[in-house]
């Protein structure tokens, strides 16, 4: 399958990339592992691709002012193998290794995954649970979007036209924080049929995020209230799992019916809560 013809530019800086995007129907090419398959099927026909892989400022992972800063063009493999991530945000490393396969992890990027906002992708749940923020840059400069404000619908985000994700910023979890990501992977694609990320701080405050469940990843705030500050026992888990499925419009497709996803939501929340107990 061959994509429709397009122009190609490979800028060296974020400013050049933003300038290159202006005009109609341009798309950013990061890892290309969602975009190129869509273009081959002609579901997407951009007139220009702006390849951001020549922008060194978008690469690398560092710790800065109490935050871990992950460059948007970091691949899943870069993140999985990074020392800072392994020591301070280990569940990001574990989560990254559950994405796709070796070849996909070698090219797919965290920024691309967040911008694409596939309802079954893993990074949204992980970044949401970690209280992360998405740093973007556009014509009017930089701004930060909290992960909780970022995902707005099916393949939809708060990114505005000609804005580029430049980094993901996650507060360094304080000592005593426990975190896990539990996921039922689709057997072929490894996308999440249901994914549940839980971060529990030493004081008992608990963040819970789901992906794969609804049209976009989300924080389960009522469930968080049911769990936060409480010792996790069977009763709390039962209340939490019942709360988690209230008011959710479950996805239903040929991989899993809404009823099955509802069941899996309970199962994977329970697994995650048991792991961090």
């Amino acid at each position: 399958m061959i994509p429709a013809a397009f122009d190609y530019q490979k800028p060296k800086t974020v400013d050049e990339a933003i300038a290159a995007l202006s005009g109609s129907n341009s798309k950013i090419l990061a890892g290309g592992h969602s975009l190129l398959p869509a273009m081959k099927l002609r579901l997407s026909q951009p007139s220009k691709l702006v390849d951001i892989n020549g922008i060194s400022a978008l690469k690398g992972i560092k710790e800065e002012d109490g935050e871990i800063v992950i460059g948007a063009a970091s691949t899943h493999a870069d993140i999985a193998g990074d020392r800072i991530i392994k020591s301070k945000l280990a569940f990001f490393s574990e989560g990254a290794l559950l994405i796709g396969d070796v070849q996909v992890r070698n090219h797919g990027t965290i920024g691309g995954s967040l911008a694409h906002a596939d309802p079954a992708s893993d990074w949204p749940a992980l970044v949401l649970a970690a209280d992360g923020a998405i740093e973007v840059q556009g014509k009017n400069g930089k701004r930060r979007i909290k992960a909780t404000d970022f995902f707005t619908g099916l393949f939809s985000t708060a990114l505005q036209e000609n804005e580029i994700i430049i980094a993901v910023r996650v507060p360094v979890p304080p000592e005593g924080t426990k975190a896990t990501y539990q996921k039922l992977s689709h057997p072929a694609s490894r996308f999440a049929i249901v994914g549940c990320a839980v971060v529990r701080f030493a004081d008992g405050k608990t963040n819970i995020a789901f992906t794969g469940v609804a049209d976009h990843a989300f924080r389960a705030s009522n469930t968080e209230t049911a769990v936060s500050g409480k010792a996790i026992n069977e009763d709390v888990i039962a209340t939490a799992t019942n709360t988690a499925v209230q008011g959710v419009i479950f996805l239903s497709d040929h991989h899993a019916s809404a009823e099955y996803r509802k069941h899996l939501t309970k199962v994977y929340l329970k697994k995650a809560l048991q792991v961090i107990t």
Partner: protein, 168 residues
């Protein structure tokens, strides 16, 4: 629109003008005539088109040729040296690691990436590394054995020498 790219493939520099929409796998097969890299599913599922780009296993059906500008690419044609098969090729031969052979180049290139980072992978590690490669003939048993054969051979040269010296 066509763009000039320079790609080093199996140690040989190639400069060509290509359309941005030309996929890397088609560049390799149709422009350079390196047809050892196969197109299977063409949707980045099956891994038949796996090559190494700057040493990393890559599905070449999901990468544009223009993205490989200035990169070092290794395909199945580039892993034998001085007329001697690569230990992985020898392993697939010795352990009957293929039947129809269509998936084999991709699997060998994925295994190259694995063995570079993990000299002595366990059976489970090999199976996890092959998640992105489909074989519809073998049931994977002999593929795993072939990769283990190569891992043993690649990590054993010193031991072999000692043995040889001992017999001499």
């Amino acid at each position: 629109m066509s763009i000039k790219i320079t790609v080093t493939v199996n140690g040989v520099k190639h400069t060509d003008k290509v359309e941005p929409r030309l996929l890397l796998v088609h560049y390799l097969r149709d422009v350079l005539r390196l047809t050892g890299t196969h197109v299977g599913c063409d949707t980045s599922g099956c891994g038949a088109c796996t090559i190494l780009v700057n040493g990393k296993a890559t599905k070449s059906c999901t990468m544009l040729a223009v993205q490989a500008d200035k990169a070092k690419v290794t395909t199945i044609e580039g892993i034998a040296s001085n007329g001697e098969l690569h230990p992985l090729q020898e392993g697939f031969n010795q352990c009957h690691g293929l039947q129809c052979g269509f998936c084999t180049p991709g699997i060998i290139m994925t295994a190259c990436d694995l063995l570079k980072n993990n000299k002595k992978p366990s059976e489970e590690e090999i199976r996890v590394a092959l998640e992105g490669n489909f074989c519809r003939c073998t049931g994977y048993e002999n593929i795993v054995k072939s990769i283990q054969y190569a891992a043993d051979k690649m990590s054993a040269p010193k031991a072999r020498k000692t043995k040889k010296e001992a017999t001499v």
